[in-house]
Amino acid sequence: MRDVVIIGYGQTKFGELWESSFRDIIVEAGVKAIEDANIDGKDLDAIYVGNMSGGLFIGQEHISSLIADYAGLTPLPCTRVEAACASGSLALRSAYLSVASGHHEVVLVGGVEKMTDVVDATSAIATAADQEWEAFFGATFPSLYAMMARRYMYQYGLTLEELSMWSVIAHDHGYRNPYAQFRFRTTLEQVMKAPPVAEPLTLMHCSPVSDGAAALIVCDAERAKEFVPKEEMIYIRASTQASDTISLHSRESITTLKAAKVASEKAYKMAGITPDKIDVAEVHDCFAINGLILLEDLGFCKKGEAGKVVAQEKIRIECEDFVTVNPSGGLKAAGHALGATGIRQVGEIYWQLKGDKNCKDRQAVIKHGYGITANVGGSGGTVCIHVLSNNRNR
């Protein structure tokens, strides 16, 4: 397989983008990525797009054609990929494989979701879970993660304070991100006393409903020299994915995401590194408990210890003896536009490893030159992992 690099990134602000349509936001992100990569639309060989549910959120399937059309890029091949909230990084993985294979050279990968145009977003989001055996009986998406949290507390003695510290740090990070949906700080008390959504989770343990789009340019490493200097290319060192049962109740354990363990172990092997080489991570904290569980499943700490790690605030940008986690603010503060999230996570790591001006107020310390993203679909039925490198220590 050929080396594949990222040479450009762009995103919209995440949030309630009432003035903008689905077409507007994906085109905005795509144009920004194309300009950032210093390429022309004519250089592109294909487009991949991650989107969870155009069908339920805007009554539109076949968004691949819509996007190629409104970006002025027909007749380029355009493919939509879906795996609920992991749609974005699966689109990247498809694009990555198409370039690694030698079939394409320069590919635009977008992620997009327009969630605030419909009345009943809760029901639409629930289609990421098992519709017949979970949602039918009244399980909402937050309640699935709430049951993971409740069981985790029971098995490992996690406290609500420890769990809530995740959100406090997320907001401290997101406060420094101009693209973030929420740019305010919060306190432990505010998190715990917020309105309950699905006990024990309050509104402040939950990521918001967001509109947003993000786009990357991926390119064969040789061809990329035409467009950007070598030190501005970020290498995709691993792209892996695993599945699990769609129903949470069918899994042996609900306090671990088996798909995250399987996919991250494969990813470390593919990249030829161990977890201690990772400087910065973007993990999928659709609900705070998932952030904690992923710290364990990605190998940053032992099972049951994530609560302590978070309580000790080791995941902060300022803490140098642990991986920096979610410098963007994560899904909690930066926002969670389902299909766009996986691309936004990779975009943040791209900026962090490059030392881009876009993250100057939240730059993590980069020692080894590696970053990782973990993007989760549903309650863990899909997990997709990417390992990136700035290639300066090879």
Binding site: V119, D120, T122, S123, A126, D130, E132, W133, E134, A135, F136, F137, G138, A139, T140, P142, S143, A146, M147, M148, R150, R151, Y154, P195, P196, V197, A198, E199, P200, L201, S247, L248, H249, S250, I254
Partner: protein
């Protein structure tokens, strides 16, 4: 949204799952393939007793539209005595539920479909009395 649901009557009304004769594992809802034995598996219908314990739970305060009138309600994963776990509402007050609580199946109206007015029935669980 109206999707046909008569196909699940057997499972949702009678709690009938699947047992793999090869490895003895019991699945709910039904499966056509035993994920452990695959081609060697041999599956048969299996009626579950409907008794179990709460494995985890939550109290839902932000429900989907069609359940707004019953919120807050208790949702749980129940571990049945035969092994499989299922997602279900628990017919009890939010403050009563706890991990390990013994429960048993009851049949209840689950929800009404707004547009077409179809009423959907299925299982809920309730605390076992006289524990």
């Amino acid at each position: 949204m109206v999707v046909r649901s008569w196909r699940h009557i057997k499972e949702r009304y009678c709690l009938i799952g699947t047992r793999c004769k090869t490895c003895g594992r019991i699945f709910f809802p039904s499966r056509n393939i035993c994920p452990y034995c695959r081609r060697r598996g041999e599956l048969e219908d299996y009626k579950l007793s409907g008794r179990g314990k709460v494995y985890s739970y939550s109290v839902v305060h932000v429900p989907p539209k069609e359940l707004e009138m019953i919120a807050p309600y208790v949702i749980a994963i129940v571990e049945l005595e035969e092994g499989p776990r299922i997602t279900t509402q628990i017919d009890c007050k939010p403050e009563e539920v706890y991990i390990g609580m013994p429960v048993e199946v009851v049949f209840r109206r689950i929800k009404e479909d707004g547009e077409e007015g179809i009423i959907h029935y299925g299982y809920k669980f309730k605390p076992v009395e006289n524990q």
